[in-house]
Symmetry: C2
Subunit: 274 residues, 2 copies
């Protein structure tokens, strides 16, 4: 496998850009091919079978770009599809859940961990399963927060309505005296300041995007796949490539707002043909 090959990253839409951002920060030498499934988003309210089917199609697409590894930058797809698709693959595929769970298990002092996510992620029970494998004594409380994604996508990051909804969602978790909260959806780090204010300084907020970038770096190093040298002759546009299944222009402006560099072009593809 070529060390210079890019890393494939996918998500249902723009949320996974928070994962791409951490990867760009932590391993800036790596090339990236990002796919956002904007024609079929959101994944949080779809079934396991469909999420597996969508993930397989996207992996087939990313393989046409000769990626050396794939990051499922979506908690719902990591919860439902990672186990299945990683067994089928001869290149490494990682999700965002294991890294997030490891950081939470390490951070908790009282053993009470909260997890917030989409209905799909919470119903799957995946965080509870992984956390209890890592540390059998932990008590995990999950809470689905289905209105957070639409509120973030409407830009209501600092708003009385978001405060009200967040305080309703968090009240169950506060009653359980959690000292660690996993932000189990890639949109949620954008609500960090609201969550911080409502929960207070004593609760550690775990951002799986950050932890996943660390895990990816270790994995590439371990498998001799890390691209150590920065390619000076390569333009930003060749280095980071973006593909979506719908509304490419809208994605481009959102991506430019989230990523450290301007995104010039996003290509639309028909993912259903893969």
């Amino acid at each position: 496998m070529d060390k210079k090959a890019p890393i494939g990253i996918f998500d249902s839409g723009v949320g996974g850009l928070t994962v791409a951002r951490e990867i760009i920060r932590q391993i800036p030498e790596e090339r990236i091919v990002y796919f956002g499934d904007t024609a079929r988003l959101p994944y949080g309210s779809k079934s396991k079978d469909n999420i597996i089917r969508y993930s397989r199609q996207i992996i087939r697409f990313l393989r046409t770009k000769d990626v050396k590894a794939i990051v499922i930058a979506c908690n719902t797809a990591s919860a439902y599809a990672l186990e299945t698709v990683s067994k089928e693959s001869d290149i490494p595929i990682i999700g965002v859940i294991n890294a997030g769970a490891r950081a939470a298990a390490a951070a908790t002092r009282n053993g009470k961990i909260g997890v917030i996510g989409t209905r799909g992620t919470i119903q799957s029970g995946i965080y509870t399963k992984v956390l209890q494998e890592l540390k059998p004594s932990v008590q995990v409380t999950g809470k689905a927060c289905p209105l957070f994604v639409p509120l973030v996508e409407e830009g209501l990051l600092h708003d009385s309505v978001t405060d009200e909804i967040a305080s309703r969602y968090l009240s169950d978790l506060k009653g359980k005296y959690i000292d660690t909260l996993v932000l189990g959806c890639t949109h949620y780090p954008l609500l960090r300041s609201t969550l911080r204010r409502l929960l207070g300084e004593s609760v550690t907020l775990v951002n799986p995007a950050y932890e996943t970038a660390i895990e990816l770096r270790e994995l590439l190093l371990e498998q001799g796949l890390l691209h150590e040298k920065r390619s000076e002759d390569e333009s930003q546009e060749d280095k980071y490539q973006f593909f979506v299944s719908d509304l490419a222009e809208q994605f481009t402006s959102f991506a430019t707002a989230i990523l450290p560099n301007e995104v010039k072009k996003t290509k639309q593809i028909d993912i259903e043909t893969y």
Copy 2:
């Protein structure tokens, strides 16, 4: 064409059930095949090209059930796809927009009409176009209300958060002194009491679902396709058939809550193969 053939109705999900409900009330003799595209919902934030492609696939599916007419029970799909797909079809296809616009044009006294809908419906400008064709003097103000669908789907029909969001969305329209408001998304009739309270009794609320059932009845009568006789020997289950592209069970319970009769079974199909 067989008068006893069913009517095909489709929507991105459950919203179109408000249209099916009006059709069942007004022409109870008719058989119905309903399709909800739950694997690809919501339509309100997707592009015109994709909505046309989805609509063509669904129409091909409904034709396998030998429907005699099709109702696009979704404002976004009516806005983006009706013109294209009705030209391609040898059976009548109607949307929800024309009937809603006609009722609004008839209802307004001061000529100032508001339209609320998804971003797709409002950006298409279709209501303004159709309303001004019907009555060139009207002033139409559109307002996208992207948080209404998630709020309705979370069941927050009577809630302080919904009140707050609704009063923000309506403030522009109130400033324009509208006397008629088109509920341009099939989920919105479920917020009727909130909208009524915020707008007062002087504003007429137009529900395109109701108007569409009237239009369908007239169309069937005109084309000699109305099924006059109630089939006594037919079970409810054969008369009303429900299909979705994902999460059939969840759909069944929602449908039972909205429709006058219990829905016993919803079948899941793979719409991408049509």
